[in-house]
Each structure stands twice: as structure tokens, then as C-alpha cells.
Amino acid sequence: MATLAPPIEAAPTTGPDRREFDIVPVRGLPFVGLVVIGLIVAIATNSLWAIDFYHVVGGALWTALDLFLGLVMGPIIGSMSIPARLELTTRLMPKMLLILPTVVMMTLGAGFQLARHLGNLSASSPLHGWIVASYIVVGVMATISLGLLEPANIAVLFELKKERVDVARIQRLMKVFIYTAGITGLMQVATLVIMTKLASG
């Protein structure tokens, strides 16, 4: 999951405009539905191209978003004014709430099927060790994103909806993004190494 913003040190509260945002952008849900249906069709039709497409596109988006948000956007957000950070957070984080689970599902669902098609799932495959390594990387990322980042993310969004925003609480919650940014970045680099090794045989 993406790492977003460094902590917010001061405490302005803002007017009603800032609170008027959807925690889940409902207009994006049909697109998510289309992606899920496409994934199921790709698997059900055993189309190697479609499965490969889903895995490569999903994986590229997932890794690029994670690294870009953590390494590029994070420091930029850290240098922004507090109102600007809150503004960006309320616009960006709800979208991430839809985009990231979708690309993760695309990548993992299609990736498992791709490994099966290519014979890498079998313990006798010379590349099986790399597949198991990818399971471990996904396990670490899932633990961090689902156990630490997602709870902080959703709690921050609900906090931002309040009439009086507790900026100190948001600051505490968002520290987890900084603590885990290094591990997430390392896991994404490991993913790139494993996947390029699997692709080149």
C-alpha cells in the first residue's frame, strides 16, 4: 500500500468545504467492477495474454504508485503548508482507497494463474524458489498494508470529516506511513528483482 504523508505538526481546522468529500468515491466503483469482471473472464477463458496483461498492468501500477507516493510525493507533501496537506489528503486518499486494492487484486489473482500456466507453481520447477520468495514478499506487504496502513488511512479520512479536526491525532496516525516506508520500498524493489528473474527464466 502507498505511503503518503509525513506528520502534520500544527493544528488548523478548516471550513465545511474541506469536509465535503466522499470517503469512498462512488463514481469510481463501476470501473472497479469492470476490472473485477475482466479479471474473472481472463481466468475463466484461460487466456494467457489476458492473464499476462492483468498481471503486468496491475503489478506495474502497484509498484509505481507505491514507490512514487512514498519516495517522491511523501517528501513534497512534507514541505507543504498544513492546509495544503489537508487539501491534498482529502482529495488523494479516497481515490487511493479504490485504486490500490483494485491493482493488488489484479496483480495477485492474475499472477497466481500466470504461474500455474507457466508451470512455476510446481515444486519441480527450477523457478519455484522465486515464486515462494514472491509469496513471502506479498505476505510482508499485506501485513504492513492491511494491518498498519489501511487502519491509519481510514481513521484519518474519518477524522478529516469531523467538524473539529484533531490534527495531533492525524499526526500520530500518519507516523506509521513514515515508519513503514522503508520496508515497503524494499519489498517493491524485491518484487522487481523477483519478477524480472521469473520473466527472463
Binding site: 474473472i40 481466468i43 486494492p101 507453481l121 510482508v140 501485513t143 489501511e150 487502519p151 481510514i154 474519518f158
Partner: protein, 139 residues
Amino acid sequence: MAEPARGVPGDGRLPPIQPIAIAVIVLIAIGGIDVSSYLPRQAPRAPVIAVLAAAALLLAANALLLARIKPFNWRRFRQVGGWYLLVYALILGTLEYVFVYDKVRGAQLAILTAMLVIFALNLPLLLGFSVARFQPPDA
């Protein structure tokens, strides 16, 4: 018994719901990696069942700890947890479909399904708690 929180529950002392939920995620990840690394053959059952049982026990303990928190914003917990339950039912249902489609059967399928069910219940509990703890308690 969990110490009653004053004001906003998240600012008071609460039971370790999040660490326990993370432990459940870790256990399910370990079990999932173990089972998946043996596919299409079956992984040795005893370690996987032990991991599964530990995860189920921790989840049940967490639910009990959560139920004892007073006061708490149960309305918000149900709202957030309910929606996440729907989302993860969809995501994990897709994974279950993949297992069935790949002809995983018998005890292996039962173990994987149990893991998915525990996972699907654990995450809404964690996420619902993460939001509700910072909301004013129910009147």
C-alpha cells in the same frame, strides 16, 4: 476487563485489538505461504492446522475483547466493518473462485477456505475498530 474509556475511546486505554489482528494476519500469511508453496501437492497438514487454529483463537479472543469495550461507537463500527466485510468478501471470493477453478479439492480446499474466512472476518473487525475508537461513543 477493558478499562472504560472516557470521551473519545481512542484517547483512553483500550485492549490490544490492533496487535492481535495483525498477529492473525501474520498467521494467515504464514499458513497461506506454506500451503501455496506445496501446490499442486498437499502441504503437511499438522503445521497448517496449528496455524489456522491459533489464528481462529486469536480472532475469537479479539472479538470478545472488542465486545467488552464500553462505551464505544458501535454504529460507526458496524458501518465501517460492514462495508469492509462486503469488499473483502468480494476480493477473497475471487481468490476462492481461483482455487476452485484450479481444481483444489478436499482438505486442502477446506483449509484454504477457512483461512480466507478468518481473514475476511479479521479485517473488518480491525478496520471498524480503527475508525470507531476515535469517534464519540454511542449515546
